[in-house]
């Protein structure tokens, strides 16, 4: 994955507009958050292979902090804290945010075919 360049990423997101696509969206602070810090809460949300179509998508932000929002027919999808992206060899657009230790905190991924596993 590489650091986000906003024009390039915007262009990639546009490729998926108005198509039937599969979405992976997750956010997590890990299963050990409250094990290592008594005051922390374990939170996370995960959806894989949600079938949607969006009218338009937009990446907003600067530096190392970006948000990506997708406007659906009757709803929204967004991810906050994304800082890297990659278009992989399967044509899937992977966007993710990592902390300083390289741990994933948030991921939003778009694909025209279902994600594996």
């Amino acid at each position: 994955m590489e650091p986000i360049q906003i024009e390039k990423l915007q262009n990639e997101i546009d490729q998926f507009a108005n198509k039937n696509i599969y979405v992976h969206l997750e956010t997590t602070n890990g299963a050990y958050a409250s094990h290592f810090d008594n005051n922390a809460y374990n939170v996370g949300a995960f959806i894989r292979n949600a079938k949607v179509s969006f009218d338009h998508g937009k990446v907003v932000g600067a530096g190392t902090k970006y948000r990506v929002g997708l406007k659906l027919d009757i709803g929204w999808i967004y991810a906050e804290g994304v800082n890297q992206y990659e278009k992989n060899e399967n044509g899937q657009l992977l966007m993710a945010g990592h902390d300083r230790e390289g741990r994933l905190m948030v991921a939003l991924q778009l694909s025209e075919s279902p994600f594996q596993y």
Binding site: T28, Y32, H35, N90, G102, Q116
Partner: protein, 220 residues
């Protein structure tokens, strides 16, 4: 001497951090060991440091790391194909029956797993519980011993001292090598230790040099 040891944990690397020394000691004595690894750790957060994995490449990377780690330990491996972070939502009985089917084939004398309710990660708790149910399905005369591993901060306070304490400092190099085989997962920990300027082997030995288990009491 044990006849056959079966290790049941949900994630690639649970065997490395939790039981690699115990496993390697059994192998040095010539005891066959099989690892039933529940998932591929598909939902792991560690992507290497600097990151070299992503959500889609992580399963294959961790699968390879797991196979390498099992080579270091010189043990058989079965990957059971569940999905990381979903084990607690599976039907407990179904998972237990699945495990029982495999155990009946392998006929272990000892099963190593997590202590349900004291294993911190929901997958550890759920898979440990299923493993303990699976072993319960054996007739008492043929039932293998179970060593359950607790990692919660308050386990000694709640459960008392573990009755099995294996000093694994004698095979520690192999344990460290097993942990290193899980590069995507070990990177973060190693980077942190380097930052704190600690001697990695000495520091790891202090934290990971003893592997402890509770013998499960099926009559309790």
């Amino acid at each position: 001497m044990e006849k056959h040891v079966v290790v049941i944990y949900p994630h690639p690397d649970d065997e490395a951090f939790g039981a690699a020394g115990t496993i390697r000691t059994f192998r040095n004595e010539g005891v066959p060991v099989t690892y039933l690894c529940g998932t591929l750790g598909e939902m792991g957060r560690n992507m290497g440091n600097p990151t070299f994995a992503n959500r889609e490449t992580l399963p294959e990377i961790r699968k390879k790391e797991l196979i390498d780690a099992c080579k270091v330990l010189d043990i058989d491996l079965q990957m059971l194909g569940y999905r990381d972070k979903t084990l607690e939502f599976e039907d407990r009985k179904e998972v237990a029956t699945h495990l029982y089917g495999i155990l009946k084939e392998l006929q272990p004398s000892l099963v190593i797993t997590h202590y349900p309710g004291h294993a911190v990660h929901p997958d550890h708790d759920a898979f440990g519980a299923a493993a303990i149910e699976a072993v319960r399905m054996f007739d008492e005369a043929e039932r293998p011993t179970v060593w359950a591993q607790a990692i919660s901060l308050d386990h000694v306070e709640k459960l008392g001292e573990p009755d099995v304490k294996n000093d694994v400092t004698g095979v520690f190099k192999k344990k460290l090598e097993t942990i290193m085989a899980h590069k995507s997962q070990a990177d973060g920990m190693l980077a942190k230790m380097k930052q704190e300027k600690v001697d990695i082997e000495e520091s790891a030995k202090a934290r990971l040099g003893s592997e402890q288990f509770y013998t499960w009491d099926y009559n309790a």
